[in-house]
Symmetry: D2
């Protein structure tokens, strides 16, 4: 029998678009959020509002889209929640640490609630358009069961394995690569500028030749033009993601020397007041080291 | 008046394809090479053989495609060569250091010979197909003059400025970014593998989402599958290129922390006998550090 | 009135010698330890055994010497302990994070119990000999009050300020410098060996010239002779200490690039099974990178 | 027969004191220097002035104390010099690269002139006092022969082997360790300051406990007090020495991650105008990264 009733927790910039797409696809969606405004917006689109988390977890499937470990922990904190849950599966779409992934997997298993990790690639506009890439891992039967939800929210589902942890690993690895690309571009642009090549010329050539695609062209332009506001992704969150990669490496004894450089550069950026700018502002740390004009 | 007679020095894996494309485009090409075999092949395609370098430098335009600083230095070593040259412009398409770029520019100016730097992006097969990306810099009038040659050899010319050095800077920056992408992929794949995600799954997802294009898919596959032979680009040359970037940074006091990590990783790879494998074999250094299966 | 009754928590390799020195100096010492054996040894030397932590915290002064954050947290976990404590001051001699230092300071203040941080420099033999260096911070009146205890346990007290955190910072900084000295020696010895200089010759010269003192001679010999067993200080604990420094840096946005290198090198060492050897075994990671004989 | 006549090349800040000590010990010293002033000062102390380098190399033993590779190369550049030399041994006391050491060794062998490398540890005042530490390597018979000269100039000779290269390796390794100690202190002082510990308190404690000796106390004070002028050793020379270590590592494929960090930090310092301050000014790079008050 196909899923019809979905509980949805976390109506932030990402979650509201995702929940709206579930509604559009015909699911009955019951939503819960810490602050009431987004709930109102969704109920106007046809969702019902849950009185509390317990009510959300009474739906067949619960999807949560929360910002970080701390928030996920806060939700799962109440021991009664999962114990009483009638939900057959909880789809956690947050970007979380492997440590949390492990704990959450064990906790759900203990209470007989299915657990799937499905972090996503894409910004709020992509979420609103239903064009997310969904990195999913968990037992195949559960993934099959929730695939219609994924289809409503994303352009494609990438299955990474039967352990939820695997999806979180892939997401952490992807964000690590994005940060690496930004730092690489930052160093290359500083090198170019110091030697008389306009960074915008360099980036135009790069994206027209070996590095096509939105990451190098988008971040390349931001770095080359030193345009970091408004933030597409806050630098403080970028540091958090670099730390997730380093923590995942530490647990399995994988040194990540690029990751270590990233951490130092992001700390430098935070020390210089750039925590709330776009994470490509880490390029300013590169410029400062080289004494390039501020 | 348009260029018709072209001298061509350096018929290595890249140069032979480039010279052949000049012939195909109707230029009269006189070639010179240290070893005779490639000369024979080109003369069969319609080129003439020069008796010595002096004869090559008697053509209107001389193109050289040599492997590195040392070889270029060896060619320009003879003080009589440029002094007697009737050529109006020398197009140096080698990947050289900024230090050599500066010296060569001054030397040509001293002898009244025009000088253009035009390093290329692309492997031998791309050169043979006339699909190179050509990074060119030098006085505009000279660049205009040799553009028909570039059109014969490449898919597009990227003009970086009026100082030859600028093209070399752009080339060095590009190779630096390629090396960064490889090391990033290497660290991400080790992180993934250690946490239970198949590197091939990770790379497939990455190249299907945020990192399209041949670099991430090509090197990603090589790293994920640990397939480094035969070498598309030798690791020893990769180390040379990383050192070019570091040297360019040192001259202008631009610290490149990713560059420093790359240098250490490439040294590690050379120490373990991988100098002649593809430069993506630097990924094995990452695996060794993490104690992943050899 | 001078302190006479001292509660002592934590009779590990360090604590048992410290408590014995308090006894020798004439203090009445009441001890508590998770495992009973060390308690027996101390009572034979004149100490009394406490029934529980509450009893220990009824003494005028409580000294704790615990291995790490987790253990200290476990002791302070019971909200009733400090609330009921009749002790006027708790001297925490553990090496802990600044985060714990801050929490512990606030917790003691809340319950009106004085709090002093006094981590030490020295191994168990030094502790047994009463020759520790004690890094102390806290309100001056409290430091004055417990100075007779410090005098019994150490050769000298170094006062770092009125905030307990300051002593922990100094301790973390010192351990960071020790790790840096080891890695420096490791890299220098690999460089020397690869270029035909015997590491033992290098170390003998160094310690006879610019680097006198036990750290360079002791760790220098261990690195040069590759003698890492038995561990004077376990490598896993060394990694913990490096992480304490990095965490302290992260909180205040101080990038520590040497610290980042250390973390990667220690992870490499752990990945190769050296967690239980002396932390100078991190030198083997340097050797591995260089392909020096295993 | 013992050495009596000594040629001495290079009367810089170090060489003049060393030559004076040879005179004091009773040797007949003939001096040569590029600029005439120091020659005059030495002849007043009993030296004779050589007309040219050839005359210096006619002495039994020639000692040279030159600042760097380039200057040594300039001296040895004339092919006639060694060919005509009647000297039985040339003692090169400069800090040079291993590459130069190798070339110089071969060149002297070719011309039948003995060659000894004997770089020193100590500043000009130490040289003037005859208290240098001399790191010597070369054939034993030659070292025995020149030991009386070393005894006149130094407090102790450290024999590193029979290949001149070995002494240069030891010197490069020592300078590398000095630079590591400075950077370590810089990072520790920034960490301390950011967390409320006065760097001067930290350094006093460190040098009174685990890090005795002039390096940690001297550089520790300079870093803690941010007192970098006048330069005891110029930062630009420090960068040169770091590069010597990295080059030595590169030749033998020994990655030196601390060396890479040092290079980046010294470049940062040079980019910020500190090339002529004491090399301990590299600490300012650490402060800048952390956003500590300028």
């Amino acid at each position: 029998m196909t899923v019809q009733k979905v509980g949805f927790v976390g109506l932030g910039a990402m979650g509201r678009g995702m929940a709206a797409n579930l509604l559009r696809a015909g699911f009955q969606v019951q939503v819960w959020n810490r602050s009431p405004e987004p709930v109102r917006a969704l109920t106007e689109q046809g969702a019902t509002a849950a009185a509390d988390l317990a009510e959300v977890f009474a739906n067949e499937v619960v999807v949560s889209m929360l910002p970080d470990d701390a928030t996920v922990d806060a939700v799962l904190h109440d021991p009664a929640l999962l114990a009483a849950a009638r939900a057959s599966v909880h789809v956690n779409m947050a970007t979380v640490s492997l440590e949390l992934a492990r704990r959450a997997t064990a906790l759900h298993a203990e209470h007989g609630v299915g657990y799937v990790a499905a972090p996503v690639l894409g910004r709020p506009m992509v979420a609103a358009a239903g064009e997310l890439n969904i990195l999913a891992a968990g037992p195949d039967a559960l993934l099959d069961r929730v695939e219609p939800l994924f289809a409503a929210m994303g352009r494609r589902t990438w299955r990474l394995g039967t352990e939820p942890l695997q999806a979180n690993t892939a997401k952490i690895s992807t964000n690590f690569l994005l940060a690496c690309a930004i730092e690489s571009l930052a160093e290359a642009c500083s090198l170019a500028e110091a030697n008389g090549v306009r960074p915008t010329d360099l980036v135009e050539m790069l994206t027209g030749t070996v590095f096509p695609g939105p990451i190098y062209s988008g971040y390349g332009a931001m770095v080359a033009e030193r345009r970091y506001d408004p933030a597409g992704f806050r630098l403080a969150l970028g540091l958090k993601d670099v730390n997730l990669a380093l923590a995942a490496g530490a647990e399995t004894h994988v040194p990540l020397p690029f990751g270590s450089v990233l951490r130092d550069a992001f700390l430098d950026a935070v020390a210089h007041g750039d925590a709330d700018r776009d994470w490509s502002a880490v390029a300013e740390a590169t410029r400062r080291r080289a004494g390039l004009p501020a």
